[in-house]
Symmetry: C2
Subunit: 759 residues, 2 copies
Amino acid sequence: MTNTTEFRYLGKGRKLIEGLEKITGTAQYVADMQIPGLLHAGVVLSPYAHAKIVSIDTSAARAMPGVAGVFTADDLPTRDRAMNSRHSAVLARERVLFCGQPVVAVVADSEAHARDAVAAVVVEYEPLPVIADMLAALEPDAPVIWPDGLPKDGVDLTAAHAAVDKDGEDVERAPSNLHATNHYRRGDVARGLAEADVVVERTYRTPIVHQAYLEPHASLAIPEPHRGAVTVHTSTQGQFGVRDEVARLLSLPKNKVRVVPMAIGGGFGAKYGLIDPLVAALAVTIRRPVRLVLTRSEDFLTTTPSPATIIELTTGARRDGTITAIKAVITMDNGVFPFTLGGIVSILLGGYYKCENVDISVREVLTHKPQGGAYRAPGAPSATFAIESNIDEMAHLLGIDPMTVRLTSTVETGDLMGNNDPWPNLGLRQCLEALQQHPAWAERHLGPDEGIGIAVGGWPCGMSPAASVCRVDNDGTVRIHVGSVDISGVNSSLVLIAAEILDISPDQVELLQGDTRDGPRAGPSGGSQTTYSVSGAVASAARAARQKLLEVASHHFEASVEDLELKQGAVHVRGLPDRSVSIATLAEESERLRGGPGPIIGEGTAAVSENAPGFVAHLAKVHVDRNTGQVTLKQYVAVQDVGFAMNPTMVYGQIHGGAVQGIGWGLNEAMIYDRYGQLLTGTFMDYSIPAFDSVPDIETVLIQNPAPHGPFGARGIGEPPITAGAAAIANAVRAAVGVRVTELPIRAERVWQALHAEA
Amino acid sequence: MTNTTEFRYLGKGRKLIEGLEKITGTAQYVADMQIPGLLHAGVVLSPYAHAKIVSIDTSAARAMPGVAGVFTADDLPTRDRAMNSRHSAVLARERVLFCGQPVVAVVADSEAHARDAVAAVVVEYEPLPVIADMLAALEPDAPVIWPDGLPKDGVDLTAAHAAVDKDGEDVERAPSNLHATNHYRRGDVARGLAEADVVVERTYRTPIVHQAYLEPHASLAIPEPHRGAVTVHTSTQGQFGVRDEVARLLSLPKNKVRVVPMAIGGGFGAKYGLIDPLVAALAVTIRRPVRLVLTRSEDFLTTTPSPATIIELTTGARRDGTITAIKAVITMDNGVFPFTLGGIVSILLGGYYKCENVDISVREVLTHKPQGGAYRAPGAPSATFAIESNIDEMAHLLGIDPMTVRLTSTVETGDLMGNNDPWPNLGLRQCLEALQQHPAWAERHLGPDEGIGIAVGGWPCGMSPAASVCRVDNDGTVRIHVGSVDISGVNSSLVLIAAEILDISPDQVELLQGDTRDGPRAGPSGGSQTTYSVSGAVASAARAARQKLLEVASHHFEASVEDLELKQGAVHVRGLPDRSVSIATLAEESERLRGGPGPIIGEGTAAVSENAPGFVAHLAKVHVDRNTGQVTLKQYVAVQDVGFAMNPTMVYGQIHGGAVQGIGWGLNEAMIYDRYGQLLTGTFMDYSIPAFDSVPDIETVLIQNPAPHGPFGARGIGEPPITAGAAAIANAVRAAVGVRVTELPIRAERVWQALHAEA
């Protein structure tokens, strides 16, 4: 536990930097931008999940009022990228492969005109057989979605999310809908099962879940025709990745693409450059600024939700709770373009408990649905739902309480992940012990048909090298320049780090978020890596600036740097309390002092060598209405090892938000497709996310088990709180009414069916 | 002479970076900016040079179409700054003090509406006595312009222009129009004159000269009401100074003011924040973006031209040409606000020649005219015209050729300036020797009434500490971040420096010019300091980045840094020519390499300890029409010690431009005010600048006498070429027709009068 009293600013709560802008409505989202001469794009989406494009008639659309252009795949510089890139928002060519795939783009002088023109485009399709289901896709006689081989150029986002090796490689064999496989093994799982006193075998299903950010995808591109360049303003989690995608798909050098990250209304793993190449292609082609803001339904249809999974899981345990075997077959429904998450599902599924015998195989499957994508702790809610349900079920069968079972076998530093790599330092046991002490567990008060469930969850947490620049202005303002996007309030922590190191008020610190041109490099903001990765760079830059301030002070006082100390905004001569000079004055002197160190500037980089896993233990208390199956969440406790809470206000915010999304996985959310690949849940009326009145207070307990390589001991904290909710709720339902629900979300009808099936 | 062959890129000509934008019309000047909701300002200027403001009636203006507001001094946050700041574009209050002073500002929805409303404002004045002449201002019974004492808060720009001490201090005594004096002495000037074989005594007059930039002053301010902040986009030579002025006059913290320097259509010393405080005050008050672009006539009336001077000069020399005495009284007409240039005039006047006996006194005078300001080598053309005319006249009287006289006594490194400080390393003698060899001098071909004149000139050149950041992107693009404004093509040199150090094509280097928020600190671009000051910072940043590339390469090759070398865009293993890796790949690896040095970034600063004077020797050949007095320039040679020409293309450009402006001083330019302080030359029809057909080719010779502390030996080069033109032309006229013209410009009527006076 880090002693936070050693710090003046770190560890104290501080509000969101851009809160004022967001509250007053002056924060600039892409949709707010006013650009002279801006054109508005609209997209014609495929109504079929699989069809041949027979003809496209744009003549009526072109004649509509205000229309500046109507474009098919052939009209854009991305023409050769359509259908052979792993990119689902470049206009389709010849065939459409999922319902919602963009086929035609319209550009007009207003959004209304663009919408009208979209409606006037006539596309003639010839429907083709649809593979909408992952198991059907694996049938030997199933039509093959990519008969001529997989599109080759793709970007793997998993590496950005978790510091683990790339998932399963593409399968090089006869074309099939099984696009990748993987197999992780240790020990002898058959022997492990044979040695078990109890074996639980279940098949768990989790649906496609959408990231459901408040702000739909939005992008605005401004071309510079004479330079052959384009600037893209976008709602993104990572400007550098978007830059690379736009450059790749438009065949531009990277330095001709500038990507400016705007205020972002939620990303949760989905905003790494989906519509930007299309918008950039339109702008470059028509030589005018173009903006596209997806409607909510378009966003549901076209973007990249989290894959559905089927996890066939068998676990065994001895009478004392020792886990003897974990065996699983994981099948992932990745939609129409290759995307791989099975690796991380395996790492977690086989990585929460000490177990000598593990056998996990992964099947990555293609279907005629939108490409799968990342969603906060991608794969973790599914893996956790499966393993934590099985562990819980074994505990019930063994008659051991679920806390004891977990404390018996929970992984500790150095134990193995599902892929047999050792875990770096982690604090799962401390989380469980804290939960064990929590009144919600220790003093369980249960009414009729109420139950308490617990589950653990974790995330390896990512890390990417990052750089930062720190400058001290002559009014004492300290500016920190970073290239990371703030999706979670992380900038407030970065400000506190600079304030702490320079010992000045955080009010004097200004955070500059750079674009791809002026921003120091940082990884994308995803995978709980930003605080962990960028903080070290900021700290290092601030320390470099601090050193220069001391050098100028050394000129100022004609004293050696060793005799000086920086505190509370000024440099003091040790032992002479009345001799001090403010950093503002020192900065001002540095800008005049010839032969001195020059203006106060420091750069810093960080390239942490080891990741810092973040673990949680969650508790859910539910009431189940036996007549309807309705599950009501009565209490929720989230314990999390955060390493060190630099800014507790934001840490609590992240845990609250993540926990509520985990509850959404558990009780609410599913994108449902029919057998024709048609989305049945394309609005927030159909796709249900947790509402305020259905979520109790999230009681939060922070464990501060310092990450050995983390900045001030901090760990990434964004992903872990989403992982355990669905499992905890399922276990609570089991405790309340004795039924084991194995498919998410745990809606009333599913519980009712389970109650009746098992009755 | 630096051997340029040691460099791959430096010393080779390279075109202007932003040339494409300027040629295609896409460069963004302030007037080009399109901002939603932008309001346009217009200013009501005083028609009187001195008057009481009796009343202001804005009612008719407020009722005009499109008018959003009409503001007097009392309506703006600058209200208490009007009339007590040394700032001439804050609205006047109670009194007006020069013709052209802004009194009322109008803000409307179009420029036309703003102009119409300006015409509808009714200001009633009560005229007061006008002091329009600097000698009249010094009469004992002259009304005192600031009877209650001088306005105290001012910004002294001289220090930014030349690395010399501040000019004369304000005079603390009974209020008078003599606002400052100074006196520089060495030896015994009376004895020096007594020892002379020839004494020349003349009074030289130079007029007020305007900087005559192509783009008038323009500023656009965008308020952020909820933050109490304002962003100013402006045509400026120094964003940090403008930021400070706006913050000071609006009583805002500096960090609430962001100043973005836009493309600039010439500054020449005049663009350090004149109209920005007014525009910012309007925007903050009306809470809307506001732009003001002065018309040409408004610009002539309201801005800060170069002061007029009267130099009473007596010099003596021995028969052999040795200079025995320099005695001068310098009177400066600084307009209505204190401004001091007499110090630098003295430094140069007494600093071109070895001379043991010097006595120079300076009188800085106030008149009811616009405040004086800096113009390229401020004060130098006046000082040079005087001393170089007198030296030339002594040569004639002694019968020694003017080249020999100069070579006899010209200052060398360590000789004294007019203020008795020693000159740092300088190359004036080399310039003269080169001019002596030039065919224009060596082979003089003269027709009837033709003459050749020569003159030397110099400038101490400025220096300000500066910082820079260098980043290497993963496509091999190198970005250099600076906070200096490019008014002269200096960015092309900075690019070459980075290219040279990193040994990559300059095409791979991108220069980012920062604003006050994101730019590393640099001094204003004036006083020939930018190349000299910023280059070192860029070089240091590039070297830091280079070192990091080698560190990553050391990981890459598992070799020690000592065994690696960076050349032609790649790192090679010494002795293994086939083992190399591109810097793009290294940058890409650095962004992934955990435990490595992190992304490739380097910061650098420079705080040069000694300035590097720039000297010239110019030659003018003229023909004089004895019937009309018309002087026609037939040939012009400019020899200049540039230290090292990093980018000869831009160096030639600077010398050409400066020489032409010097010719303007000599033959064309004068702002003429009548006895009521009314400007008679407020358009380009009346204020004549050199036209293409009146300027011969500028034949340019570069001397490369390396500056000991300069980057690669470079010196500042912007100011020196303007200094000597007027003197060289006057000397040529003397050679051609035997008359000495002692007042600039040397227009036909003045020569005609001289011919007739001396006939």
